[in-house]
Amino acid sequence: MEIKEKIQKIKARKLTAEQNIKQFLDKIKKDNKRLNIFLHLNSNALDEAKKVDKKIKEGKAGKLAGLAIAIKSNINVKGLIANCASKTLSNYISTYDATVIEKIKAEDGIIIGMVNMDEFACGSSGETSAFGPIQNPSAFGRIPGGSSSGSAAAVAADFCDLALGSDTGGSIRNPASHCGVVGMKPSYGAVSRYGLIDLSMSLDQIGPFSKDVEGAKLLFDVIKGHDEKDSTTYENIEPNSNKIFTIGLSPDFEKLCDKSIYSLVEKKAKELSRKNGWKIKTVDFEHIDLAVQTYYPICYVEFFSATRKFDGRKYGSRIENVCGPEVLRRILGGSEISKEEYHGLYYRRALKAKEIIKKEFEKAFSQVDVILCPTVPRLPQEIGSKVTVEEMYGYDALTIPANLAEIPAMSVPAGKIQDIPVGIQIIAPQFSEEIMFQVASAIEKLK
């Protein structure tokens, strides 16, 4: 059932919020062991649903009334466990609601529980969780992508209506692509990160997952906007769209991809252009091949800094004593390159490259309205496969550029290869989420 249809059903009281939540809880109870998606359920969800039903009856319910929303375990929901899929915070109970959670609750959305993820969002595969790997419901046995693996998998497995994840270098779009759902990373500054346990503060964004574009837009519209608790946030500026778009395709993205994946996405872009009368134009990037090399020094240093609070005094355990290899790699690497003797060699050089990539996107968007490319350059491998660190980091080669350029991007299902979902990525200028959603809807209609 589409989100729009479900909302109408709930508001018309043909389906109660309580029934909606209960059917998800039953499904989770039946299938979660096999898929390893939920780490912690909200024991008050049914009671909260009953209260929402009362509000619906009184005609006072909000935009998300009765919808079940799964939350990535690095976002604070008061009274629930936000463990970041780590042993460091294995029993950490959130003491407050993140701003995005306050907004969801104000619109009567029901937090159904906290989902699995890569440990501290360090990963692109959903394998680095201290509570075991997450299965891909759309391609069982293969990685679901990461790091918001549980959020994407929860939507794909019909464990919830919508989900929240965080995206630092592709962590929403990558699992959305592998699980065959819609996932959206907003512009940097569009959504408050207050209450997000950060990976890399200059790149992190919180964003929605849904089965359809309408659902992602609905949740984004609820969580967006300025928050005085996060000084990087703006009120959103949404430019009017002219409805006739120019789509950008780039050979520089094509070079980074498997041929079959790029062909599928290119075919989709051409179909989109033909059906809507939109133009296609080639855009060039000189430094896009440096995105991965730019991202990781920034991420390592900022993550090292972010983890200094995990000293095991006020909560949890000391992170270095109990974390897995990928988290440790980033902490030790970040510690090393932020030393005074390396001043300028790693972090500042990466910041410079980030600025250059950002400028290249600004130039590209003076010629086109959106850029289309695959979300992930390769198909998801089998869980537990042996890959090098560089190969694993390369999974995010097509998603990282949008984080570096601080612009919005989303993944929409494009089709399947070998019966495995493949996503198409739509990248738009900063704060042009409205245009991005219009193009995403048009892609969805091609089905």
């Binding site: 109970i93 430094h287 090399q293 020094p297 790699r329 980033r330 030790l332 410079k352 042996k386 660190v389």
Partner: protein
């Protein structure tokens, strides 16, 4: 190597550290090609947004949850070792 979670021993910590440095060295070498390009200094400018100072709101349940999370406590105090964390 696979990316599945596992606990790390002291010996492995050293090799992870070396490996991380080698990866970052390679990345930094690749980024050397941007070194001569001119860019503006990276800084954050926030002229349009100012923080409104409001009166702090006290959440009465915060204290209970805060102490629930503390690994070692005694009465109204959280206990922490001296000098072990550097």
């Amino acid at each position: 190597m696979d990316f599945l979670w596992r606990s790390v021993n002291e010996e492995e910590k050293e090799s992870i550290k070396k490996e991380a440095k080698a990866i970052l060295d390679n990345f930094s070498k690749a980024l050397a090609r941007v070194e001569k390009q001119k860019t503006k200094d990276v800084f954050v400018e926030r002229k349009r947004q100012t923080r409104k100072e409001k009166k702090a709101v006290c959440d009465p349940s915060f204290r209970e949850l805060f102490f629930k999370n503390a690994p070692e406590k005694e009465g109204d105090w959280i206990k922490a070792e001296k000098g072990a964390w550097k």
